[in-house]
Structures are given as structure tokens and as C-alpha cells.
Amino acid sequence: MIGIIVGVSSVVLIMSIGSSITNAVKMYFAGSLGDNRFTSYVSAKNGKNFSVKYDELYELAGKLPNVKGPLLESSDYINGRAHVDGEHYSAAVLRGVSPVYSDAHQLIMLCGRFINMSDCKGEKSAAVISNVAAENCFGSTENALGGQLSVIGDDGRIVELTVVGVYKYIDTKGKLEKMADKRLLASDAYCSYEYMNLKIGVDTSALEFEEFTYITDPDVDMRLLVSSAQDILSARYDDPDYSISCYRGFSRTKETNSMLQILILVFAAAAGLSLVVGGISLMNTMLVSVKERTKEIGTRKAIGASNSSIVFQFLLESVVICLVACIFGILFCFLVIAVLRQNLSVLFDLITDDSLKSFMKTNNISISINFLSVLVSVLFSVVVGVLFGVYPAVKAAKMQVTDALRYE
């Protein structure tokens, strides 16, 4: 019984923690390694110039399945301070970006919204600032919404902004701690790509791109998407002198995931082995029980139990023992997982890589029971119960009635 409890709980624990790690890694890689984007390159032969216009970028995005939009970032940025008044300000770097920027960089919105298409089209002054800037300028993140800011660049450029959203500043290097005056911590502020262009004197509609990146929905089959994107783009510019090629982002998520999954399965198999050991000890217990109950078996046969009903009785018994042990094992796992969840921050402190550590802490990465593993271990313990119950059960059934009755 103990053997099976240990076996079940190790299988469930390993699979649960493993799948939580896999998920965390998946999330970690999704933003930083570009698993949700692909890039297209336009090249021309025979000395011709060829590029895609700004309007065409959005037009193409609409034609491609699972594509959210082009990732655009203004060629220039304004480095300076965002002022409410002379007293309330925060160091900021203002960038003009397209709406998908938040997907590409995994920004966590604390309140309000990110830049959207209507901001882009209307060249509106909508801006998204960090919570650090919001606190510096408006006292709190909530107060920031709707607030007016003037970004004054070090070079003297001035841009007026209206705050529509606040994102969470990820303090990867612990800068915030070290700053005596929080107002001097430079964080990114975002406005629409188009508004920024307007402010820095760039004609957006005249822009041409030889290289552009699209952000896609997460978890799409990038291989398939890239090939269909290539087809659509090539058909659109059907000219032997031009070629358009699409490349997947620097993606390792799938490979890493499958590697992790193999590792986890190996560990789970090792844990499963302890289930088998538990099964053997169960068989031993059942054999002793059969021996002890020889007389009972004899009596049962004398009053009309057939061999098959004796086999059934003992098999049922071993399966029930296994299932009860399995339930205890699963309860134990819930307990362990609950304790782990309470002490996640302690666990994360053990991570040596700083950026991974802060990612784990800021994204509320947690551990939860993997229900597939619960199902698997329940099924597995039934199988163990039957497998290791058969021999004792058959042994019980094969007893001679007269010998069994005489057994003391």
C-alpha cells in the first residue's frame, strides 16, 4: 500500500511540476525568442528598387490568417522627461509603436489599454506609460488614466500625450531599488507609430519597407503560416525580378518543449517504476492474505463459490487496495503542491538566472496539479492491482476445498 502511495504521488508530482515548468518556459520563450512572429524580406534583382508601402503592410496583414498585424517601431525616439508640472515628472523614453508591440514584448497591462488601431489612424496623442512613471507623475496607476503629459526631449522636442493605459515595469536588474529618486528611472512610454512620425516629421504614408515583421496569434503552426504567407506575398508581387521570402522568428520553444517533455516523461517513468515495486509488495500482501484466509476460501467454496467468483473476489480486493492507495497518493500530492504554492517565492529565489527569476516572479508563474497525470496514475494503479492480483487470486481459487477446510 505504502509502495503504491509513494509511486502514485511521485508520478503525479513529477508530471505536475514538470508541466508547470514547461508552461513557464513556453511563456518565457514566447516573448523573448519571437515565437509569435515572422519576418518577410523583399529583394529585387536587375538593379530595380522594390519595397512594400506602409498601407500595403496593413492590407497584407488582413489577408493572412492568424496574423495580428505588423510590428512597427518608429525610427527615432525621444529621450527625456514626461512632465505633468515642474514637480511631477518621470524620466522617459518615448517610442512610437504599432498595436501589436505589446504582444511582441509581452507587456503586462495594469490598467487601461494599449495603443489601438484608432490611435494609429487618427494620429491621436494616446500614450501608455509604465507604472513607475504613473506613480511619479500622478501618484498612482489609476490616477494616471486620462492624465495629460508633456514629454520634453533632451534635444528640446516636445510631445503632448494623453495617458490611456499603464503597463507593468519589469525591473530585471533591480534598478528601482537602487534609485534614490524614483523620478530619474527612465522607463519606456509608448504612443502610436503614426503620431510619433507626425511629431518627428516623418511622412508615414510615404514609408517603404524592405523588411517587415508580423505578429501572429500564439500557438499557431508557424511553419504552415509562413508558407501560406509566402504564397500570398509572392502572388501579390508576381514579378520575376522580385522575390519575397518569409522566415520564422528565432523559435526554439517547440524544440525546448519537446526536450523538456521527454525529460519529464523519463522521470515519470522512473516514478512509475516505484509503482511497479509497490505492485510487487501488494502481491506479497495478497499472497499472505490468501494464506491466512485459506479456511475462509475453503468455506466459501463449500457453500457454493465457484473458482471464478473466488478469483473475482481477490482481484477486486487488490484493485480496491490500489485505488485507495492511489487516492491517498493524490491527496498527498495536493498537499505538497499547496505547500509549494505557498512558498513559490522561496523557490524562485533558488533560480540563478536573474531575468528568468524576475520573469517567474512578475508573471505569477504557479504550480498546479496535472490532471492528466492524475488520470494516468488512477488507470495505472488499477492495472497494477489487476496485474499483481491475478497470481494470488488464481492461487486462492485453485485450492483444494478439503485441504483448505482442514487448514489451521
Binding site: 466459501r300 457453500i303 463459490a305 483444494q400
Partner: protein, 217 residues
């Protein structure tokens, strides 16, 4: 032989238990044949044998052989479980039988909470569960004091008067006298077969080899 009250009497090791095992279809004869209701027991499959044991034979053992950690009621129900009697019917029949052996107040007692005499009563109720044609009792009073043994014997008399065939095995000549017919065994042979109360001798009618066949048919 239905409607009979037999007594198989013999010293230890005389072969009476073996005879009982064969009559009860617990064992197959190493040689010879045994017909039970016209069926050759030695040729039956386990399934059919267990069916016969279940429905037509009731066993009462010297050491009661109740299933431990199982209530009196459940013990009496057990043969009916194997006989696939529906649950409701099973429970009411088991209660009826326990009432018959005056164990009404002990339905839920486990064997370890019962005295020897009470255990044997439950065992008798269990033997009667599927209304068998014959009850085999192997030294039913052997583990009981004489007073309790008396009440158990009275129970058997009672069952017999209700028309049950009863085969008793003892090595107690006093008890043997109470039955209609006494078969004495020694060294595996029947040496006498007589009327218990009247003393009439059957031994000339039967010899040991023909005994089984003639009577079971």
C-alpha cells in the same frame, strides 16, 4: 434417501470425513463413482460442482467456519449471493432463517462476538439458506459443551421433523442413538448399518460398495 436422518459413526481416522467430503461433493473419489441425483460427481466441472454445493447441499462444520469480520446476517446471505438470489429476497430469507435458529437479536454481530453455540446456529441457518435437499454436519457438537451441543442436536431434530435429510458425523455414540439410521465405519468400510432407535440392522441389505449408488438414485 431423502427424508432420512442418518448418522455416520466411526473412530478418528476411520474414513468418515472422507465419506462426508465425497457425499458433499467437496472431493472426488480416487476410484469408483458417486452419483448425486443421478449425476456422476467425479466427472463434473468446477462450475457445476459449485452449483450443486450451493443449491442442494448445506454444510455444518465442527469449527463453524463462519466468515470472519462479517455479520451473522451477511454470513447467512453468502450462499444466496453465490446462488444469485436478489438482494431483497436474500435479506428477508436470511432474517427468517436466523429467526428460526433463535438468533433474531444477533443479526449484526460478527462471529467473534458470538458464543460457540450461537456460531453453530448461524452456521445451521447458513446451511439452510438455499433450502438444500441434504444437510451434512461434520461433528457439529464437537467444539461445544454438552449442554449447548444438546440445543444444536435439538435444532437438527427440528429440521428433520420439517422434512430435511440430515447426515450427521460424530464419534459420540450417545448422539448416534438419537437418529433413525446409524452407519458405522471402520478403516474405510461400512461395518454396520442399523436403525438407531429400533436397532434394526440394515447391514445385510447394503454392502459397502453398492451403498452409494443404490441410495443416491
Amino acid at each position: 434417501m431423502f427424508d432420512d436422518y442418518w448418522h455416520i459413526y466411526g473412530e478418528s481416522g476411520s474414513g468418515k470425513s472422507t465419506l462426508m467430503n465425497i457425499i458433499g461433493a467437496l472431493d472426488r473419489p480416487t476410484e469408483g463413482e458417486y452419483y448425486f441425483n443421478g449425476v456422476d460427481i467425479s466427472k463434473l466441472s468446477d462450475k457445476k460442482l459449485s452449483k450443486i454445493r450451493n443449491s442442494t447441499i448445506g454444510f455444518v462444520f465442527q469449527n463453524f467456519n463462519l466468515i470472519p469480520r462479517t455479520s451473522a446476517l451477511k454470513n447467512v446471505e453468502l450462499p444466496m449471493v453465490y446462488g444469485k438470489v436478489p438482494k431483497k429476497e436474500r435479506i428477508s430469507r436470511a432474517k427468517e432463517l436466523l429467526d428460526m435458529v433463535e438468533m433474531s437479536s444477533r443479526y449484526d454481530h460478527n462471529p467473534n462476538e458470538l458464543s460457540g453455540g450461537q456460531k453453530q446456529r448461524v452456521a445451521i441457518a447458513r446451511a439452510m439458506a438455499n433450502n438444500p435437499s441434504i444437510i451434512l454436519a461434520d461433528e457439529p457438537t464437537g467444539a461445544l459443551d454438552s449442554k449447548t451441543g444438546r440445543t444444536i442436536m435439538d435444532l437438527f431434530h427440528n429440521l428433520h421433523s420439517q422434512g430435511k435429510t440430515i447426515v450427521l458425523i460424530t464419534h459420540n455414540p450417545e448422539l448416534a442413538k438419537e437418529t433413525e439410521r446409524i452407519v458405522t465405519i471402520s478403516d474405510g468400510n461400512i461395518i454396520s448399518d442399523s436403525r438407531g432407535s429400533s436397532g434394526e440392522d440394515y447391514s445385510e441389505i447394503y454392502n459397502s460398495e453398492e451403498w452409494g449408488e443404490d441410495n443416491e438414485n
